[in-house]
Symmetry: C2
Amino acid sequence: MNCQKCLNQNCFIKYCSPKWLALISERKSFLTCSKNQYLFYEGQPVTGAYLIFKGEFKIVSTSRNGRQHIVRLAKQGQILGHRGYGDEFYPIGAISLVNSQVCFIDNNSLTEMFMHNAAVSYHMMRFYADELRKSELRAKAFAQMKTAEKIIYAIIYTAETFGLNEEKFIQHPLSRIEFAEIVGTNAEQVSRTLRMLKQKGLISLKGRKIGIPDIEVLKAEIKDYHWH
Amino acid sequence: MNCQKCLNQNCFIKYCSPKWLALISERKSFLTCSKNQYLFYEGQPVTGAYLIFKGEFKIVSTSRNGRQHIVRLAKQGQILGHRGYGDEFYPIGAISLVNSQVCFIDNNSLTEMFMHNAAVSYHMMRFYADELRKSELRAKAFAQMKTAEKIIYAIIYTAETFGLNEEKFIQHPLSRIEFAEIVGTNAEQVSRTLRMLKQKGLISLKGRKIGIPDIEVLKAEIKDYHWH
DNA sequence: CGTGCTTTTGAATAGTATCAAGGCCGGTGG
DNA sequence: CCACCGGCCTTGATACTATTCAAAAGCACG
């Protein structure tokens, strides 16, 4: 698995100079992570950043009362652990949703590489800026939406992150509890909202799987909040 | 007002090489902005970034239904408009809370400067990473907290941003409506919560001014949510 | 010293969380 | 193969929380 030949289009490493690309390729390590396993824990010392070569993860943050919150869903090509960059400890944890493969680059290599490749720093800066904008739009939406609307948001977010299969069902459906952990509610409320959406003809249900005949109609339900 | 002699400690410009510092100093412009005035609007084309030389701002985002949300409060030394960097239009607007003075750097100068000064890009990247972490912690807290708890959060946030005067009252008190716009509720609920907090002895009230005898006691009220 | 705005308060209503019970489903072991 | 178990999902009842509406009081400013 070397970086020069990696087909991963989104990986920021490709902005390196050829010399640094070779160096990073040599220094990085390659990890596998089976389903439902922690890639790194909240509170663990920051050792570097992870790039998803193949797989899906949820990024979680736990409150002192034990409630877990899903901060973000991530798939192939995305970076994990960058939130900790510059910190001592990871503010969040990452859990694989399926069997996954991940590249790891240690902190020293990252910092050196950033300092010698303005284009990479610049690209990462824009990546963070974009993430920040999305995070703040979500924060606004969550401050203003009712629970049912936030659940619609979570369905759209999941559908757009993991995609739909040929029958228009969300790939890798999350559990009701996981939806609740995105929104900050409980499984009962998710269940009730799904039933309501099904009755309105906005979604279909097959076991825990959620089908979306027309995602634009679903988006129209929460159009009043500028959330993207 | 030249950058070489500017006393503003937090300004990221100081990470430039001396040559670029001189160049930016020449190219930047200096603006004044009176109280309750828009520095830039939501949806306006992105022309550059702003640095608060002196003053206080609220950063707002409006939903299609007209509800306004306060994304962030900013004071002297902080950067504004950076959320739009790389975009076509500002996703948010900035309104001055007091008479203010601001430096403005156009987009082209910024981009050139970033590409020639890896240290600045790097510093900005870390700034964004930090903002992102804070934004996500706030998003989690808001997903899990009840309204009253979010109001406590807003009080602490305002107190820490603008500081307390010698009588332990928040400098530049926001209106009830502005607190509501941080939290995503209404003025009535803010008023009720303040009364409740006063009765518990956690705050004091004098007109619209909020006094905080011991901010640590206030923080203890929401300690179960890892929000900082 | 009005006028218009914000703030406070109460009452009615709507929305949400919590508790409890039963159903469904997949996996395990007899 | 089937009974059983444990987890997740669904549903209803109830208690709690928050929003909305309305009205009065307070305050700032011309």
